[in-house]
Amino acid sequence: MKGSAIVTAALPWLVIVLILAVIEAIYRTGHLPIFLPSPSMLWGSFIESPTLWPANMGPTLWKAATGFGIAAGLSLAGAGLGAVVLAAYAPIYNLGATLQSIPIIATTPLLALWLGTGAETQITIAVLVSQFPMLNGAMQGFRAADSRQREMMHCLAASPLQTLRYLILPAALPFIFAGFKIAAPAAVLGVITAEWAGAERGVGAVMLNALFAYDPPKVWLSVIAACVLAGGGYGVWALVERLVVVWDRPTELRQ
């Protein structure tokens, strides 16, 4: 049992190592196209300027985290308001959906004109692209407690605040985390896209410079950096969810 679990966990890594080895081998025989760097070239580019990456991933990370935080606050407040004031439910939801559907490729240059190419623009974009998954999740979550459970709290003569604490919030958590897990990578990618419109530092800035300098290894490294940040954003919330939502484990469909 335990041995097979280790094999299962190691298998993806083995596959990755194998693929890298194959690419390296093709490169050595001279058959790799020029836009596809070999693993050794990537490594060479990386150790050439190792401080470049933390220096640029850091700003992207904090801008994405700030934007995510603002969006989380707004979404939870909006969903909470929509749950209490029913008349506000549809307008708030529609506003979130509308903002979500505006293409950021179009808004970024406009925001850059308006706010400049500083952190404000990139954080604003991160808020715009990450708010709706969280709003959607929270709005669904605040309605997740069923009528029987609400009736039970009513029978206990629980105050509105107690009902919120003991019933509404815990019932909403799986939905809120579902939103967070989608929103965190979205915030990272939003910041990187916004950095293309001009930024001093950040993964998006490195990506753009490497592109104009025709430096394929660096372009690829910046793609990997973007994936690490976006995947990390997802991973953090998946982990928190796993630790918090212990009662809602996935079950197999065929059970």
Binding site: L156, A157, W247
Partner: protein, 266 residues
């Protein structure tokens, strides 16, 4: 402490898609304190509605209900009513002990309502001592319903209302649960009112069986059960038991009772 329940000329209508359903009409019933009563009747005759009126989940369109002299809303705020729903309705994120202790969290540390029994003692009482730390999803339906009963008892309710609490369980489990419920009621001496679908069960358990009929929902018979307490399964062979079962069956089916193939599960 237990309280009596007074129901005087209560009626309630529901309006749904332009239609008016008279769920209950002119229902009067007095239930002495400390007694055990079961309500029986066909589906949709308003049994659940009656319980929900007593528990202040619904308000009557006409008539009046009092619980120990106070209106249901007051009794509810005073945590005098324990309610066991048809489904266990446990909170899935709380373990069994935390679920049983939920009413204690709501009333606070200083309430006079807190039972002398701790949640752990109540779990022992309903036979779940070993499962205090399990999550509801890890327990069978019958065990979950027992936890729901323990939760309803943790504030020492003056009135215990149970709406088909064992309806979802198989016959054998239901039989066991009924015996346990009688034992628990004997210990707690609260006023108990339970909705059931089984004639034999109603007669075996109750001091009085209330028979209801639908369209509009009303009470058609009240049958006192002269069996002594404590009850034992052997009493099911008592002639008085058979007489009472036949009385209930007649109240439910009238003349039809003659032509029905003699089983008690209708």
């Amino acid at each position: 402490m237990s309280r009596d329940i007074e129901i005087a000329q209560v009626g309630i209508q529901f309006h749904q898609r332009g239609e008016t359903v008279i769920a209950l009409e002119d229902v009067s019933l007095s239930i002495p304190k400390g007694s055990y009563t079961e309500i029986i009747g066909p589906s949709c005759c308003g049994k659940s509605t009656l319980l929900r009126l007593i528990a202040d989940i619904l308000a009557p369109s006409s008539g009046k209900i009092t619980i120990g002299g106070s209106p249901p809303a007051e009794a509810r705020r005073d945590h005098a009513i324990g309610f066991v729903f048809q489904q266990p309705t446990l909170l899935p994120w709380r373990n069994i002990r935390q679920n049983v202790a939920l009413p204690l969290d709501v009333v606070g540390r200083t309430s006079h309502r807190r039972s002398d029994r701790t949640p752990d003692q109540l779990l022992e009482l309903v036979g779940l001592g070993k499962f205090a730390r399990s999550l509801p999803a890890e327990l069978s339906g019958g065990m979950q319903q027992r936890a729901a009963i323990a939760r309803a008892l943790v504030l020492q309710p003056d009135v215990l209302l149970l709406d088909e609490p064992f309806g979802a369980l198989d016959e054998i489990t239901r039989q066991k649960m009924n015996l346990e419920l009688l034992r628990i009621w004997t210990e707690c001496r609260t006023t108990a009112l339970l909705v059931t679908h089984s004639i034999a069960e109603a007669v075996f358990m109750s001091d009085e069986v209330v028979v209801m009929s639908p369209r509009p929902g009303r009470i058609t018979a009240r049958i006192a059960i002269p069996l002594p307490r404590p009850r034992s399964l052997a009493m099911m062979r008592d002639p008085a038991f058979t007489v009472a079962v036949n009385q209930v069956r007649e109240a439910l089916f009238g003349d039809e009772a003659e032509t029905l193939p003699g089983g008690e599960a209708y």
